[in-house]
């Protein structure tokens, strides 16, 4: 017999972590579609933004301001990575591109480790209000609700902008056919930079939403496990992107919630099944990979253009 209260609490938590996966996944898909690079450095570039946030809040800058500056610096990191490296390797084999993107991940995570000073734990100040709301017997933390709402808002705003705005149209054109877009007078390099910038900002926002609020009222912690090239959240983010075949943005958003909810809701499952909580993401990813989800969302021609 499952009580109502834990179900609600767990669902809220699942939604908030799903929203974070969705943000990471949207960034991955945007960059992959526009430039054909799977950004293994998504986490590490986001980490860079978080480090800027830590440094600024320690200096006494108010949290939300520091968060915005942190996101901006992540944009800088992403655009730099594209301009200095990925722009120059178009046409290289896919292994080379993957290795370089891993190199970028290592670069930024080492930089972050250096800036954080190699502590086992680094304390983070929260920048969202943390209050426990009690509705009947259910306790819901405000930061989780804000995280979910912010992430969904940002994601929908981004999708709408991608569909409607002039820049969004140009981005879609570059994603669909780079050569044709260039012939039509679209500056592919400029729009690829924009994609890298937005993708990195989404990554930084995801980290800024989850890590500073991970430990309740004391704020949050960055552990040594977070300061690695592929932090713990990048794998579910890959899974979320795979729900959309790595190319479909709205499905990546859905995928984020699939991964977030499945992980958290398994807590409620009876004993042998709840053990799968930590490996559910891996199981789902293998399933999605073997399903080859990309063929539902992209034509063979588009996939070949992406180098797959």
């Amino acid at each position: 017999m499952i009580l109502a209260a834990p179900v609600t609490e767990v669902t809220v938590f699942g939604l908030s972590s799903g929203a974070v996966y969705a943000l990471l996944a949207l960034g991955l898909v945007l960059i992959y579609r526009t430039t054909g690079v799977m950004n293994f450095a998504q986490w590490a570039i986001g980490l860079m933004g978080l480090v800027v946030y830590v440094v600024l809040t320690n200096l006494g800058v108010p949290g939300p301001v520091a968060a915005v500056i942190g996101m901006t610096s992540a944009v800088g990191g992403g655009v730099m990575a594209y301009r200095l490296v990925f722009r120059r390797i178009t046409g290289s084999s896919q292994i080379i591109v993957i290795l370089i993107s891993i190199g970028i991940a290592q670069f930024f995570s080492s930089l972050a480790a250096f800036a954080l000073g190699f502590e086992q734990f680094t304390r983070l100040q929260p920048w969202l209000p943390i209050v426990d709301w009690h509705v009947g017997s259910v306790a819901i933390r405000s930061s989780e609700i804000i995280t979910t709402v912010t992430a969904i808002g940002v994601a929908f705003g981004f999708l709408l902008w991608f569909r409607m705005s002039r820049t969004g149209r140009a981005l879609r054109a570059v994603a669909q056919n780079r050569e044709a877009a260039m012939l039509a007078g679209i500056d592919a390099v400029r729009y690829s930079s924009i994609a890298w910038g937005i993708g990195s900002a989404l990554g930084a926002l995801a980290l800024l939403l989850v890590l500073p609020h991970s430990a309740g009222e004391q704020g949050g912690l960055i552990t040594v496990f977070d300061v690695t090239p592929f932090g713990t959240l990048l794998i579910p983010a890959f899974g979320a992107a795979l729900v959309g075949g790595l190319v479909h943005l709205p499905m990546a958003l859905v995928g984020g919630f699939v991964f977030g909810l499945s992980r958290e809701l398994l807590v409620l499952a009876p004993q042998p099944w709840s053990e799968f909580r930590n490996s559910i993401a891996a199981i789902l990813i293998v399933f999605l990979l073997l399903l080859r989800t990309e063929r539902f969302f992209a034509s063979r021609q588009e996939l070949e253009a992406l180098g797959g």
Partner: protein, 373 residues
Amino acid sequence: MRTEAVLEAAATAPAEETLTEGKEPRPRWRLTRAQLISAVALLGLAALPIPFGDFGFFVGQYALIYAIVGLSVVVVTGYAGLISLMPYSFAGIGAIVVGVAMASWGWPFWLALPLGAVATAPVAIFVGITSVRLKGLYLAIATLTFSNALGETFFKWDAATGGAAGWLVERPVVGPIDFGSDVSFYVLCLVALGLFVWMIEGLRTSRVGRAMLAVKDNELEAQALGINVYRTKLVAFVLSGLVAGFGGGLLALLLTTVTPSAFQSPLAEATSILLVTLVAIGGMDRAIGPLFGAVALVVQQQVFQGAEFFFAFVGIYAAVVLIIFMMYRPGGIVQAGKRLIQVTKERPALGLALWATILITNVGGSWLFLALS
């Protein structure tokens, strides 16, 4: 003298570069120049840690074992063109199995090491089967996921891994040789690495190895040539698992304690990245590559382990070197070294100047950092 050298180079070059049939049979007892050079290089390498004492041998063992595990990346990525981001997980299986076999069952090390290598086979076969369906990027994500899943299942299985305490492994004493001392264990690692390099380099020109290279080049063409792509990929992963598992077993013996936490996510992924990085820097498509990469990375990493600033510096340095090599010299140090030797032959003055610059920047740089820390 000079013409002789040129003639000999001309005679040996085709055997190395292409597979021409019907070359002159050469007397068995005569060493080729390449063999002589590698023998001298091996001896030089064996002597390299001597001036640094015990610490030098410890770092040397680390580098050699990482080079052995790196060879698994050469087989699977360099030869067969399949990207694998889980070499350290394979090494972890080898290490844990050696730990169980020696600490719990009391097996001797010469039985435990092969068992550790073979124990990777089930996972390797599974990954190999997946790699038939998944290519490039998708395989990269899959192997990353497998590494994560192994960390959540096998490496959290207390009965096998010995829990948080891990397994205590004693280094063996074989006859008069006590492998408890760092010097003898270093020599053991060196011999193991030499054997593996010899085998993996031989694999490249063997039937299976050429099939792998063909699959890497173009899968459809390889199939049209009658190569069984499915079997080739499977063999590549099983071989890479064997090598990595053996290296992992040696790592267990080196550390004398095996704890599973090193193989759990995300530390396993981070170390796998380091391994792939060092292989890519050294040169993915030749068996000697990982050794160069290990010397370039692991030595720095171990030397600067204590000094935090420099430890981060090694991460940044490794990343920058990797990116620059992949952008301009994807063949790594092996390719760059070949080009440098060629330049030295054509324009000795320029070549010598380049060698001197490399030597001075490396030695001077290391000295500067050691002096500063």
